[in-house]
Symmetry: D2
């Protein structure tokens, strides 16, 4: 179709394509509004008559992000269609600045699709991170877990099908489906809030399953607003916060030179020095982690994975328990 | 403790008391800010110097609600501690204008408490309401359902306990807990948004289980801000919307008199007349329902049900699977 | 440009066209996302497998609005470029669910454009509405007011130009510009929140000046999402709320018949009867007003008024005080 | 009054006291809910059964802030009464996550109080900061500016009084009041969003006038939630962001040691080196600024400035233009 709206060919290329995530999930970009140009346009309304010449789009987009001028990024919108296990949906929905319409287990029959963690992500509780995963579990443990999952899901699926067939209210029939059951929704959010979501959800502290979704969405941002994406990687994602105490430490270790920065030869700060600056033991370890050269993640989408909408919809439909339903008009 | 803040004795009386909801859930009001007086104070800042004398608090509060002047109601805050099945939590969390901190299955061990619907609320799918409950199911159906629930929960609970004991990451161990598992959270919201939540959630179209929570919270509003509560019942809860077509119908059926309103003798509108005014068949039935004298629900709390915090916390703790945990300092 | 996104020809026709409002203001629709189809798509994700066939788009859109299922309407977005007097901007900005980037008087030189009320809207304080306009003022009063406005604006404009020329910080130079000075912004909002804004701002209780803007935007909604627009007029704009007491009154005056509604012959409710049902004197007058057949406003845009962006921008630029500015690179 | 709610004596001490800001403005804390304990309580609901012992309140509050776990801070609320010039109000209102009720110029007569910048803050446009103030202006310039302000305000005040006396609608009468006119509002916000507001508004890039308000509010936070305040100063206010390129620079300049950090002797990065890491010229200057030891601002309130509510209200009332008003009942 023809439009006078700004379009982005890289975004158009994936529009409506379904990218698989986990064993039965997906993310599709189904609509978008604006691109880096919309960020620039909104920012420039502030820089009206009489302002000095400002550099090009890339420089402006980077400047805005570096200085946390986030409102122009609200002018770009993304609408996604996603399917994910309910325990992932429960983490996702905590982000309140989005619009969402979810598949309703009160109205509709649930597809009996359950998430099974792959062996390489079946891990023990982390010894250092109170909420995360640590070492990979032994293969026998995984085998035993899979057996249990299969048993639970068979029982839950059988009970669900039986209740629905017995005409029990759907809102009751679904209460014993496991949290691993897939649900789906439309999810719409602006670029500023999406990048905030992604910062939290591609982070290694996020549960691996939601990271898998966030990484695909980051790849979609790269296609809709590539300059904003790049600035986000450089200033937010791989950037970090430095506290007052850490700034004091850096000021002792480094000297400002006319056209750069230099290490102050011979200066070192040990744990006691850092404690004096107010850093706890944990903060010292955090500082040390910040001082290793960062990698630069890339979330490029693999277009070979893209699937047509109809194929995905059919798979969902096949997983719904079938029975002879009394239907009537509305 | 002493305070210079406005307090409300009826609210103080229940502060920190736990009101049971469903088989293992609860709602407790743990803090609040303001009362009807705060609504009035905020409204009167608009009506500053030179305005006409306005009537008393009750009249003002009712006027504001009738005319949807909702911002003054945002000045009153409620903080609740609640426990509910996860399928209820998933409906609840859709209200985005609240602050919430939920028990985390990634950090913490889940209490193995599951919701079992009581027989009188175990119903068939409604024939008229696409999403709701209709007639009560037969007793044998209920008995069979209970057996299935018990089997599923036993399997899910066993698997959870086994994984946790095997030191599997908690974020994985919990993925096959059923949606009937209880979770808990602190939930903070202002009066305006709380009343909007309650309008939707004490409604007969809401799932019965979340209504049970909403009704207790409505009783708490009655104690914190009784005039706002009363206005909400009269103008929102039992009030209704009338469309353009319905207004035209009413104008034909009724005549305005000097000091009141009169029925126009002999006037009747049949289905065809109403269709001509743009009402669909469904809208005619909706109009008819609106024209029956409404009841006036009361959400008075029964203080005899109130339980101390410690007792409730202990019950939760006892339901956590016990095992020898490796603990260490932080 | 080509796009795979849903487009709406009626919206494309006005995209980027500037519609004059008041003496120097404007509204332009500069981008949009989605249409009625996006509302339907979002709603249908709830009505997944196993639900009854639901009627067509129009019926669904009307059903959703009638029953306040507002989340699907959040899936449609509008982005406007607007210029308005600052006292209008101050009312407008109270709607918090939008994204906005405003022209900055700290960075940029303000165009010296001031709003002058037309004589037909220069009115006395209303005797019945505490905040609004009543009878039109006498012509001499208007003439005197214009003279005062001219004097104040000349003085304020001269002072502004002088300070800017003297290189006083712009954030200080602008502090004595009058509230009638025009500002401009980009404003982005979703359909649900836009309709809420419009309900409040095309209302006769809104200040006439902001209504002039709201009416143009309503015309734009009609082109982007015509079914949602029509449902909004029928259920929200011309619809009304009826209180518990009013419902009781209606139930006494009207009888439900098998296929319609009938007036109960001979029944009339006088002021005392209505007072008994809880209606204050003011509420009786409000009820009487509700019982007159409503009109059906139409906000059709006049395309003959549409102006090209460049022409409008030039006018703004010409109103900026000119002086020799020291500029430098960035 | 007695309450079972958590109270904070340091907050109670200033509750309802009015702190002057600028020449006619003020900030008063009129209500609050919760303190650091509420932040801890909300966080600990996540760290339920089976979690390791976590350190004390201070450590937890600091950990949460350092790691941007902001939701527990939403559990604390502040309600302020403030008066400020309208150009300040227009900056303030951009923060959308607060509740506000403002004095209405449509209903009420405006007090004719105007803000006059003090000479020490009457500055030239900054040569380096596109939006801010630079050197102080010459005394004659200030004297001339004052004269102009006085003339404009006299004319605007006279016109306002004359229109109000002539019974012109108030919503029209006020349109030529200057942006320096004082308005007032109740403003309610949670701790998380307040600290975000304060970070932006005590910043040297914020206009000096709004900083004056933010600094008083920061002093109030210090009394309501002292540990959160301290963590905010250390991690947000005096903390800073470091980009990917800057992290690479730091990694080259510094070495991680077993129990601390050391400068790498002899290493220096000149402009070209930093450009190679992707830093623009402006970013190099920003990095150099970050590497100077920061101060530690303190926003302690001076209780000697606190004034009683009645005294302040009277002053406002005296500034309202007086005339014989026709009043009537409601």
């Amino acid at each position: 179709m023809e439009t006078n709206r700004p379009t982005n060919p890289a975004a158009e290329e994936i529009l409506g394509g379904y990218f698989p995530v986990l064993d039965h999930g997906f993310v599709a970009l189904v609509d978008y509004m604006g691109s880096d140009g919309a960020v620039e346009q909104a920012a420039r309304v502030s820089y009206g008559a009489g302002t000095r010449k400002v550099s090009q789009t890339r420089g402006l987009v980077r400047y805005l992000r570096r200085h946390r001028h986030t409102t122009p990024s609200e002018m770009v919108e993304f609408k996604f269609h996603c399917a994910m296990p309910m325990f992932v949906a429960r983490q996702w929905i905590r982000h309140r600045t989005a619009s969402v319409n979810e598949y309703s287990g009160r109205y509709s029959l649930m597809p009996l699709l359950f998430y099974t963690p792959p062996e390489e992500h079946f891990s023990l509780q982390s010894a250092t991170n109170n909420q995360g995963r640590g070492d990979r579990a032994r293969t026998e443990l995984y085998r035993d877990a899979r057996e249990r999952w299969e048993r639970i899901r068979a029982a839950a699926g059988e009970a669900y099908g039986w209740m629905v067939e017995s005409d029990v209210a759907r809102e009751i029939a679904r209460i014993d489906l496991p949290l691993s059951t897939y649900t789906q929704w439309y999810w719409k959010i602006d670029l500023h809030n999406l990048l905030h979501f992604l910062s939290l959800r591609v982070d290694p502290h996020a549960q691996w399953e939601i990271r898998a979704f966030a990484e695909v969405m980051a790849g979609m941002v790269k296609r809709v607003a590539p300059l904003s994406y790049e600035a986000w990687v450089d200033y937010d994602l791989v950037g970090m916060s430095v506290s007052r105490g850490e700034r004091e430490a850096l000021a002792r270790l480094l000297a400002v030179r006319d056209d750069g920065v230099a290490a102050r030869s011979g200066v070192a700060l040990c744990g006691d020095d850092l404690a004096e600056l107010g850093l706890s033991g944990r903060e010292v370890r955090e500082l040390q982690a910040k001082l290793t050269a960062p990698g630069r993640p890339d979330f490029e989408l693999d277009l070979g994975h893209m699937r047509p909408a109809g194929e995905v919809a059919e798979e969902m439909a096949r997983a719904v328990p079938s029975f002879d339903e009394k239907t009537d008009g509305d």
